[in-house]
């Protein structure tokens, strides 16, 4: 328990227990809040879900309306001595309960396409992952070598970085129309948007990482007779590898943020298409399930990549 208190002190120490407790709370607290707002009618529930329209003929069962309007309708019916409408307090349709989202989530993996969708959530998501994968691979194939060269060769940095800086400030979606005109309406322009969104940042970030390699190591290698390509491949690249890997993790997250825009270009596709389509049918539980899926897959990949980094780069972790 004292460690829990210490965790609240500035730069305080934490131990295993405290980290575990906070880790569980980090997941539990938002879920509990969400559940409380969803299931405890006195917290929010600003609307009434009609179960029996009673004498009011513009009401239908299954309809949602504001609590004040509903109360007025009840009063009117009472005044006319007609049966009063019945209803239960509920949250707006855009705020589904955890249970609904969970069942939509489970449903997504067990059934084929829901109403209005040509593809199931998994098919749509699989398509998105393919776009991200190719976008990131193409961007990395260009960006990583170029970034390392810019960081290690002053001439390359002077030649390339100004134009990279220029393109970096152009928002990737601005290239949308151009990409469609050149690459057609299917997957190619989407991949291009991800590449454009990631590549320019990637070159600069990796160039910076390369420049930050401890210069004393380069000098030591030089006095041992290392030059040129051997210096690059035996010292520079192994030396920056852990930081390069961390940069790639961050940039992969970056690539995900361009996904939604990319998928709206040309024929909309993938998880974005699924989300917009389901929102149109007011299936917000499906929308939240799809969004949660993106978050979970993103977090999951990052955690796996993080664990792999701990395995690969023990020297870096214990040096820091």
């Amino acid at each position: 328990m004292p460690s829990l208190a210490a965790s609240w002190r500035l730069y305080g120490r934490t131990d295993r227990t405290a980290r575990g407790v906070f880790g569980i709370l980090a997941v539990l607290l938002p879920l509990l809040t969400w559940s409380a707002v969803s299931y405890l009618p006195f917290i929010w529930h600003p609307q009434i879900l009609i179960t029996d329209p009673g004498g009011e003929d513009y009401l239908e069962s299954g309809m949602r309306m504001k609590r004040a309007d509903f109360n007025r309708a009840v009063d009117e019916m009472r005044a006319k001595k007609l049966p009063a409408p019945q209803g239960i307090a509920t949250n707006p349709v855009y705020f589904p309960s955890p249970g609904e989202v969970l069942s939509a989530f489970a449903h997504a993996f067990t059934s084929s396409a829901p109403t209005g969708a040509e593809h199931s959530i998994t098919q749509a998501f699989g398509h998105s992952i393919r776009i991200i994968f190719w976008g990131f691979v193409i961007s990395s194939l260009i960006g990583v070598p170029l970034g390392v060269l810019c960081g290690a060769l002053p001439a390359m940095a002077r030649l390339i970085e100004p134009s990279v800086d220029f393109f970096r400030y152009l928002p990737a979606p601005a290239f949308g129309a151009l990409a469609v005109a050149i690459l057609g309406i299917y997957d190619a322009p989407k991949i291009a948007i991800i590449v454009i969104g990631t590549l320019f940042q990637q070159i600069l970030v990796i160039a910076n990482t390369t420049r930050k390699l401890d210069f004393a190591l380069i000098e030591a290698a030089r006095t041992l007779g290392a030059r040129g390509l051997r210096l690059l491949f035996r010292v520079v690249i192994p030396g920056i590898l852990p930081d390069l890997y961390r940069d790639q993790r961050i940039l992969l997250g970056w690539a995900w943020t361009y996904l939604i825009v990319a998928e709206l270009i040309g024929t909309s596709s993938g998880i974005t298409w699924f989300i917009t389509q389901q929102a149109r049918y007011q299936h917000f539980d499906n929308v939240y399930a799809a969004m949660a899926l993106i978050g979970i897959v993103g977090l999951g990949t990052d955690m796996v990549l993080g664990l792999l980094a701990r395995k690969f780069f023990t020297w870096k972790r214990e040096n820091a």
């Binding site: 030089r222 006095t223 192994p238």
Partner: protein, 304 residues
């Protein structure tokens, strides 16, 4: 101890004089030929080194001392080829050198081992850069590790070793590349006093066994006298050679010699020399004696 009871540091005992004569007959491995270095920052110019002229003979042990700002680190970086000269040149075996090369190995103050390689791979690095095959390099590296008694740490990583061990690996890594000259830039100053003495003995032991010429930069006068055949004293602003001292101590050196009259006389002279530099320099970056505390400053509230 009164100054006048010490012998003159310039009087060499017979065996030392003989040895010095012997050394001076050997060929000159490293020649510092009228080297000057000027740093230019915007329009401001700083003369770091001015007309340094010095010959280092084969298998000689030379230490360079001087107050901070005398350009001794600049000098060794020029020798290593990590810094260009503004004027003059460096010759190794009579050939002018340009840039760093495996003929001049360097041991830095920070150990600068490659943290992603194990100890053996670190030592192999310089050997492989010389074009030796991997298996042969591994065999040689293991022999070097045996010399410094670290063969059981061959598969450890640098961060798993103590500072002294890391510096031993750094020394054999430099030596394994078979340099003509070993340059050491305050290599032991990050170590604690006991480890430092051990490392000094280690270094002299290695130096005795193999054909290597050593240039050692230090600010520790005891270390310089204990290790060197000759001590090059640099004067600051601009860095110039003030004096070359031939150390009047016989070899092999032992820690007990550090209390001998010759040692103390040399040290007293060096200390006086370096103190004399401090007086005529305006901007010194180290804590000086004349560091005035204003009278009104309340240092303590406890009245005496």
């Amino acid at each position: 101890m009164p100054q006048n009871s010490l012998p003159d540091y310039r009087i060499l005992p017979l065996d030392v004089a003989e040895r010095m004569a012997h050394i001076k007959q050997r060929e000159c491995v490293l020649k510092i030929d009228h080297v000057g270095k000027v740093f230019t920052q915007k329009r401001h110019q700083t003369v770091a080194l001015e007309d340094i002229n010095f010959d280092i003979h084969r298998r000689e042990f030379v230490c360079v001392v001087g107050p901070s700002g005398c350009g001794k680190s600049t000098l060794i970086r020029i020798l290593a080829g990590l810094e260009d000269t503004t004027s003059g040149r460096i010759l190794v075996d009579g050939q002018p050198v340009n840039g760093p090369g495996p003929d001049r190995g360097m041991v830095f103050q920070k150990y600068t081992l490659f943290p992603w390689m194990d100890v053996c791979r670190n030592v192999m690095f310089g050997i492989e850069m010389g074009g030796t095959s991997k298996t042969e390099a591994r065999r040689e590296a293991m022999q070097w590790l045996q010399i410094v008694g670290l063969e059981q740490f061959a598969t450890s990583f640098p961060h798993q070793l103590s500072g002294g061990m890391q510096q031993r690996v750094a020394i054999v890594r430099a030596l394994a590349a078979r340099p003509r000259v070993l340059l050491m830039d305050e290599s032991f100053s990050a170590l604690d006093a006991q480890t430092r003495l051990k490392m000094q003995n280690y270094l002299m032991e290695i130096w005795r066994k193999i054909d290597i010429t050593i240039v050692f930069i230090t600010h520790d006068l005891d270390e310089a006298i204990y290790l060197a055949d000759r001590i090059l004293v640099l004067k600051p602003r601009p860095g110039r050679v003030e004096e070359v001292i031939e150390v009047p101590l016989s070899r092999p050196r032992r820690a007990t010699q550090m209390t001998s009259d010759e040692f103390l006389a040399t040290k007293a002279h060096l200390e006086a020399l370096i103190r004399s530099f401090g007086d005529n320099t305006e901007e010194t970056d180290e804590g000086e004696e004349d560091f005035n505390i204003p009278l009104l400053t309340l240092v303590t509230d406890k009245a005496e």
